[in-house]
Symmetry: C5
Subunit: 236 residues, 5 copies
């Protein structure tokens, strides 16, 4: 559970709610408009659906939950674990690594250690592990792209909704008293677009990029560690 | 048929239609203005025509239909097919590949296999295939550029149309009752520009870039596969 | 004569003219304002003059006419011509190339063939031709930069003119009937800036970039062809 | 103490204060609105919190004070110090370096000299020093990113606050006299966002980037100097 | 004296002045507002002061005068001079170069020729000249950065001033007749920001970049020429 992102979303939402509550003459009801939500969220989703193949789009949901549920890997712990595995291999041979597979939770390390224990050639291990790394990187990069695009389309559809509201309002100006509320409703779509982009999509995309970079760094360390184990033991 | 893009366009269009239908006092008629369409779509086309040679511009139409009718190549199937061709070549010789040409539908693979079966030298095969790849990449990149530029010019011509409408309206303010509807009509051009850019051109350009990258990846795999077949058999 | 650019400019201009003609209550006169033209076009020119040395600025005029009068070189014809020259050189020796100089229209090929026929060493030929290529590339790139900058400054001076108009108008609000027309005139400058940028400068810059890339590709092919001719004959 | 940044902030703040004081009919009170501050500063913080892990976010505070309290390292002094250390090493041997450790204040030089004096192999020294450099670079880059993002989110939350104020105002237009002050309050949020971004966050991020580049240049010189000391003495 | 930049600034300023003079009902007085100048120019300076160390900031003034007083070096003359120096060295030896030092005005060439005449080793000459080149490049790049940043901050402080003016005006709407002039004054700050950025800072930054590139090209040619002189004579 990534506490900073949770705090961020809650803090942002509370601040906006408090600002509405303490403003004289304001009510939450004035800020709820379902057609505006439909235009902003639906429109951003529609534009993102056009941009990407369905598979990439659906995959984003899996990637996006990382914003909140990603537990940042501790790189020093990872290095310690790899060093300890290397010692086992040096002392008791590559086969002994199999006995330690159960204590490893990261499936990427398990993949590498399993291959090393089976005596797979180091070049083959590296090739397979790097292919897996590339696949993870592509999946994450696409996930980030989808959220990035939604952060780019949300304000655009906010503006589209406001323009639609203004066109409707300006075409029906018989009742001057209705102009104010009409404009208020029209502006809500722009407000939704700005909030979606700046409190959700853009920060989420930024965080996904950060997580992705950290995870790939961990995988790079793992690949190098396992290559070291596999090569040293063979040469030894 | 790329289902995500079709869903995206339909979803986006329906959402905007529903938003108009449920808005009190709105009618579809208020959102139809032919001169505005002419300025936004015609203007974006005109600007794009200036940007590119006629051939690149016309070619875009062919490339653009990929947004909807592109069937994403299954890369694992492609690899399987290349492996199976390699086995045939190893078992029965390069000449045997000719017997399998009929079952291949991708003309790029046919090109490579034909040359391999004819005993063309691997370097020459690679040269010819890479030249073809470059030509495809350039054609697609230009196609994407045209759509990108249209997504950039559409909002600009939307603004140009609105400015023209405002100049006309502000010069004829004898009848105050006409101000509202006049502004409504003026704003419709900006609305058209925003919708064209954000629901059509920009997502289409994004998708074309995605398809292009995927197709080039498939071609790269094909080139490497056929080089492998051609080299192995010669050395063997 | 590049037909696409000519069509583009005519199409764009006609569309805007038609839009004015069919708008009720509009007249061309309402869209002509000489001080606004002066601010937008003069201001963009002034800013571009500051950006570049006078020589680069004047050179742009020569480069810019390429947008309309550039005849795109046919690369297959170019390759055919080089192949035919190579055959002459192989059959009849380098000296025979001189007899064919008259039929070549491209001065860059003439430059290379002349040197090859004179028996200049291949390295020297390449050096001289590449220096010429660099000079052409720099000249074109600077030309494109000037037009690019004008496309960037035109909307800015459009806004400057509108702000000036608004300041004048807002300072003289004795006659409420003059407010509408005053704002109309103020907005015309923004309109001019947007049209100059989006129908002229930005597409022209884009086209110049395209032409430049194509021309350099042709020169690269020429250099390689002439190097081939010169080297093969020497070795032979 | 970096005098330019201190002068900059004080100058900017005084200018805005003076502009308010000399404007007829203005009072400082009209520019203080706590809910607007809450939305702009709180919102930017919330968005930045979502973007980064908590550790990177908290680390920014440590990095950000560099804007004011960074004393730019004098590179010629640094080079002199390294030259003098090299002379000691050449004259009296690497061990003699230990005697000079006390006079060095920069912990990065101390780290390197300590290792050189201990006879650590040059490659190992370089490896350890470069790893430390990378860690510093990453820490600073993340710090700059956080401030950059806040400079990007502040104007966005300024606009969000203004839109909220407008929606509230437009929904309560019974009293026409309240419209002006209502809009004034709504605009203050945009003003806060613009000031935070342009007088604080964006210049701070720029400065942090500048400091970071200078510090890494100093570290690079240090690494090369110590490598020279360590290698020369070993070879000698 | 760079005539293009001088013409550009004078042309731009005259155009704006003429536009004011010929506008009916306009007076120069309406466009002069000292607090607005203070906010735009002072604010941009303040923000730029925060961005850079004081030394880089002060150095900009020296670099910025290049926009007007830079005499573009004639590269063919430079090459001729280097060729003539090379001939002297070849005919009369390196020592003879000392006799020609007086006729050289460019201190960078003097530096190189002095070292060559003194018999300094070519590698050492190159090292020293390139270090000098790097120092010049960094100084110029920083100078351009400062002007670039001011071009970015000027419109932002223009908007800040306008927002401040609007907040003051909207809070004092007792006298409807004051609204127009109040808004006029508020808009002047945005106008100043746009003029400063688009007629001064941004074109100046562009020009500084151009000058910098040209000067470094001249220095590169000089370094290569002097290396040639020094190497040829030693080998000879």
């Amino acid at each position: 559970m990534d506490i900073a992102s949770v705090i961020g979303v809650l803090l942002g939402a509370s601040l906006l709610a408090i600002a509405i509550m303490i403003a004289p003459g304001a009510s939450f009801g004035a800020f709820v408009d379902y057609p505006s939500m439909m235009v902003v969220i639906g429109g951003s989703l529609a534009a993102a659906l056009i941009c990407f193949p369905l598979k990439s789009f659906l995959n984003t949901i899996r990637v996006a939950k990382n914003v909140f549920f990603n537990k940042q890997q501790d790189l020093s712990e990872l290095i310690e674990q790899l060093v300890s595995l290397a010692e086992t291999a040096r002392r008791d041979g590559l086969l002994a690594l199999e006995g330690r597979l159960e204590e490893i939770s990261d499936p990427f390390i398990v993949l590498g250690i399993q291959m090393a224990a089976d005596g797979t050639r180091p070049e083959v291990i590296e090739d397979i592990m790097r292919t897996e790394m590339d696949a993870v990187a592509t999946r994450h990069r696409n996930g980030k792209s989808v959220v990035d695009q939604m952060g780019r389309f949300a304000p655009a559809f906010g503006m589209i909704g406001t323009l639609m509201g203004l066109v409707i309002m300006l075409g029906n100006m018989d009742d001057p008293a209705a102009i104010g509320p009409g404009m208020a409703v029209a502006l809500i779509t722009t407000l939704y677009g700005a909030i979606c982009a700046n409190l959700l999509f853009l920060p989420f995309a930024e965080k996904l990029g950060f997580i992705n970079k950290h995870e790939l760094l961990g995988m790079e360390i793992t690949v190098r560690g396992i290559m070291g184990i596999s090569r040293a033991t063979i040469r030894g």
